[in-house]
Amino acid sequence: MRKLLYVKDSEEFWKIFSLEREKRQKKLANLPFARKIEILEMMQSDAALLKESKEANET
């Protein structure tokens, strides 16, 4: 990812960015299902917090 900081050309930037993202997605996809469920439950809890905070800010 550090390599991205030194890329000046935008086409090159997005090429490296996509490759890095694909690598990260592949790594996450290969996690055990139990670990994915833990991550998902963290996301659900974070999303609920964000929703609460949004509602609190809007009232």
Binding site: R24, Q25, K26, L28, A29, L31, F33, A34, K36, I37, I39, L40, E41, M43, Q44, A47
Partner: protein, 169 residues
């Protein structure tokens, strides 16, 4: 919300013959195959012999004071939506051929990636199309084509929909 608690409850209901065989589909099945993405409902494909068996299932949940939100039954804080096999033979086959899995010691079944793609082609929402592209990399193309041929009809031209998804990448 507890996925494991909900699955353990489903296993208990199955053991006591309240529900028949079942398999995980929808967003949780996508999470099984791909990287984790946010989802709120647990979609459960369940084998039933008739529509009345399906209604009996909801009757059981109502009588046992489970919270019911629209079509979802809240089990261990997780909204669970049941899809009966009477919707289409595709659902029944997806349950019967589902993969046996164990999550932290809790046994369950998750539908095969090829059936998951076929079901996403049936629902065919914008988010389904994105998932299909990623799931295709994991699928047995021959088996997928065979499933699509057997379960498509004029209203749901599954192979044509798949072609459109691929054309729009």
């Amino acid at each position: 919300m507890s996925f494991l608690g909900a699955v353990a409850t489903l296993n208990n209901l199955k053991k006591n013959s309240i529900i028949g065989d079942y398999a995980i589909g929808g967003g949780y099945a996508v999470n099984y195959y791909l990287e984790p993405t946010l989802t709120y409902d647990l979609d459960i494909l369940v084998l039933v012999d008739s529509d009345s068996d399906y209604y009996a299932l909801y009757k059981y949940f109502r009588e046992n004071k489970y919270k019911i939100e629209n079509v979802c039954v809240v089990i261990e804080g997780l909204p669970v939506q049941f899809f009966p096999s009477t919707i289409s033979p595709l659902y029944g086959e997806a349950i019967r051929l589902a993969r046996k899995i164990t999550v932290k010691g809790v046994p369950s079944k998750v539908i095969r990636v090829e059936h998951l793609i076929a079901l996403l082609l049936v629902s065919y929402r914008p988010k389904d199309k994105i998932r299909i592209v990623e799931l295709l990399k994991l699928a047995n193309k021959g088996l997928l084509d065979e499933i699509l041929v057997r379960f498509e009809d004029e209203k749901t031209p599954l192979r044509q929909r798949l072609r459109r998804v691929l054309e729009n990448i």
